[in-house]
């Protein structure tokens, strides 16, 4: 399977791949850059969001008489009451984010022990207006709570009556309080990233080495050399696998840079044992071996570069479906069936590793299936490469 001719082809193909700007851009540069850019964009928009949250709420107040709520709001630093001639128009233009209407007799109703009526007018299609009404709701909630407390005090009742149950939350030993969100982010992003890039990282190389060779008319001379078809095919196959693995490593590098730019991007407080990282690495290489064979098969089948790209493009979506399907899968409760389904089984092991589970039985089952899938994929590739009607298809 791996003889001197395979090695010659592999070396030549890797030289060729690394001299191809297109392959370098799609397989190495994009995976390295996409996560840092994503982290930067998410970080900036989060900062912007938090910045808006820290600014006072720009609002208009409609009230026919003086009342305590108006006094409370005017004294509150988180509120900026703006005088406008036409509040509805100002809201449409987002000069103000929310209008508060306080009904006549508000204070009297509260004095009588009834509910005071107020109304929020806001633009539901604007996230900033929606957020402003939500913040104003919280601020008025504080005012409402202070009224409740003073009423209870007047009646001689302890405010403890409002909280009849005390809840204490304790996490397991060796766990950190902020780990939960980090685990959730990582268990969604990491499996998606690793599986997608392992599967599609070699796509550009597969296209070039299969149908590209046919289109350049270099395949026929190659088939007349002393090297057997299997040796030629294996050289090409391993070159595509290397490109796929490099794509995955590039994505991981990008992921690392992204976590430096924006620590919230990857989630903090998550550590994985070394054996889990090795298992994930091996299984991702397994995925690259399966998909490289499939991509090369499709590439040899295609008549032209364009046709190959049409066939290969949906493969990214095919890989993303299981990644999305298992997005909220709990790494501590993997259904047995999932260990037998391609892609999903690799994702299951990644999810287990993220939550600190190292189940050797599960890993061996997935590794076994991965070997079977590699064998099947290669069987089709070899068959396709030996088919005269495919190789000389034009």
């Amino acid at each position: 399977m791996f003889n001197k001719y395979t090695w010659i082809v592999l070396k030549k193909e890797l030289t060729d791949i690394f001299r191809d700007k297109k392959t370098i851009i799609t397989s190495i540069l994009i995976p390295i850059l996409v996560f840092p850019i994503l982290a930067f964009v998410i970080g900036s928009s989060t900062d912007q969001f938090l910045g808006q949250n820290n600014n006072p709420v720009d609002m208009a107040l409609i009230s026919e008489e003086e009342n305590k709520l108006e006094e409370f709001l005017k004294a509150n630093d988180n509120v900026n009451i703006i005088e406008v001639e036409n509040p509805q128009e100002a809201l449409k233009e987002l000069d103000i984010k929310v209008i508060l209407k306080i009904d006549k007799g508000f204070d009297e109703r509260i004095e009588r022990g009834e509910a005071g009526n107020i109304e929020f007018i806001y633009d539901i299609t604007s996230s900033r207006s929606d957020m402003a009404q939500s913040r104003l709701n919280g601020i008025i909630g504080e005012f409402s709570h202070s009224i409740t407390l003073s009423k209870l005090e007047e009646l001689g009742i302890s405010s403890q009556i409002l909280n009849p149950i005390n809840i204490e939350k304790t996490i397991l030993e060796n766990q950190q309080a902020d780990q939960g969100i980090g685990l959730m982010i990582l268990s969604i992003i990491l499996p998606l990233m690793l599986t997608v890039w392992s599967a599609v990282g070699g796509m550009a190389a597969a296209t070039d080495l299969g149908v590209g060779e046919k289109e350049r008319q270099t395949l026929e001379p190659l088939l007349t050399t002393k090297a057997s078809r299997l040796s030629l095919l294996m050289g090409k196959y391993f070159a595509v696998v290397v490109a796929g693995i490099l794509g995955t490593l590039a994505a991981l590098t990008g992921f690392g840079i992204a976590s430096e730019i924006n620590p919230n991007f990857t989630g903090s407080g998550v550590t994985m044992p070394i054996q889990s990282i090795i298992a994930i690495g091996i299984l991702c290489i397994g995925l690259a071996l399966i998909f490289s064979a499939l991509e090369l098969t499709i590439s040899f089948y295609a008549r032209s570069f364009k046709e190959a790209q049409t066939y290969l493009s949906p493969m990214t979506i095919i890989v993303m479906i299981p990644a999305y399907f298992t997005m909220y899968l709990d790494g501590k409760e993997i259904p047995d069936l999932f260990l037998h389904i391609p892609i999903i089984n690799t994702i299951s092991i990644i999810k287990e590793s993220i939550v600190g589970v190292f189940n050797i039985e599960h890993i061996l089952i997935v590794a076994g299936w991965t070997i079977v899938y590699i064998g099947l994929a290669l069987f089709f590739t070899v068959r396709m490469f030996n088919k005269e009607s495919v190789i000389f298809r034009s």
């Binding site: 030289t15 008319q217 395949l219 007349t224 050399t225 002393k226 030629l232 005269e388 000389f392």
Partner: protein, 242 residues
């Protein structure tokens, strides 16, 4: 020596080559003359073991192509016409070296041979330049070097001058003559009567997958009252078309 015995190739329902038999003696140039789609390329592809015959076989210097295809491939060199395919991102030297190594040569042998071929084919100026921006003529020279880097005893030329300009055509013709002088056995496929007449010792006329005549150019002339080869071809093919 090449011996072709009852070679037949059927693609689905199309019989591209029908019971073709001929012999090419060592050191001779055999011209396979036929119209487009006559079966020339399919015959050469079978001889180069790229295609498996549906029936029949052939032997190259005593090696049956069905028994030991790898050995057959090591004995032949093949040059295709039309758009010559090279690896654009590799230099001319790297292109030739790749094929030398894949034909079982050592690195030292290949290196020596490339220098030799570079002198013979006058490629010194661009031997270390990437092939992407080569002219058709330059590409054809690299292709020639690639096909003979392992110094095969038998050469197959599949319409090698197709699409080339006059200078490049002359270069290919000179090259074939040089190989002939070296005693190589050559099959040269073409639909150009002039080329075949100029270069070949023996002509095999192929039409609709069948060999309809095999003879020396001289004998053909005698048989057809000293007619031009083109007229002989038209008469032969015309008969079969009726």
């Amino acid at each position: 020596m090449i011996q072709v015995k009852g070679l037949t190739k059927i693609f689905k329902k199309v019989e591209a080559v029908k019971n073709v038999s001929f012999t090419v003696e060592k050191g001779t140039v055999f011209g396979l003359l036929g119209e487009n789609g006559a079966g020339k390329t399919t015959t050469l592809r079978i001889l180069a073991t790229m295609l498996k015959p549906t029936s029949g076989t052939a032997s190259i210097d005593g090696t049956d192509l069905l028994v030991d295809p790898e050995e057959v491939r090591s004995k032949i060199g093949i040059l295709f016409g039309g758009e010559t395919g090279l690896y654009d991102r590799l230099t001319a030297r790297e292109n030739i070296k790749y094929f030398g190594l894949l034909n079982g040569m050592s690195k030292e042998e290949v290196s020596r041979r490339i220098n030799e071929l570079s002198d013979i084919l006058d490629m010194q100026e661009y031997i270390d330049r990437r092939a992407g921006k080569f002219s058709k003529g330059m590409k054809q020279k690299v292709s020639i070097a690639r096909s003979i880097v392992h110094n095969p005893e038998i050469m197959l030329f599949d319409e090698p001058t197709s699409g080339l300009d006059v200078t490049a055509v002359r270069m290919v013709h000179d090259f074939i003559k040089r190989l002939k002088d070296q005693g190589k056995t050559i099959i040269f496929s073409s639909h150009s009567m002039n080329e075949v007449e100029k270069l070949c010792d023996v002509v095999g006329v192929i039409h609709k997958g069948k060999i309809i005549e095999v003879s020396t150019v001289k004998n053909l002339r005698e048989k057809y009252n000293n007619m031009e080869l083109e007229d002989i071809f038209v008469e032969l093919v015309g008969d079969k078309n009726v």
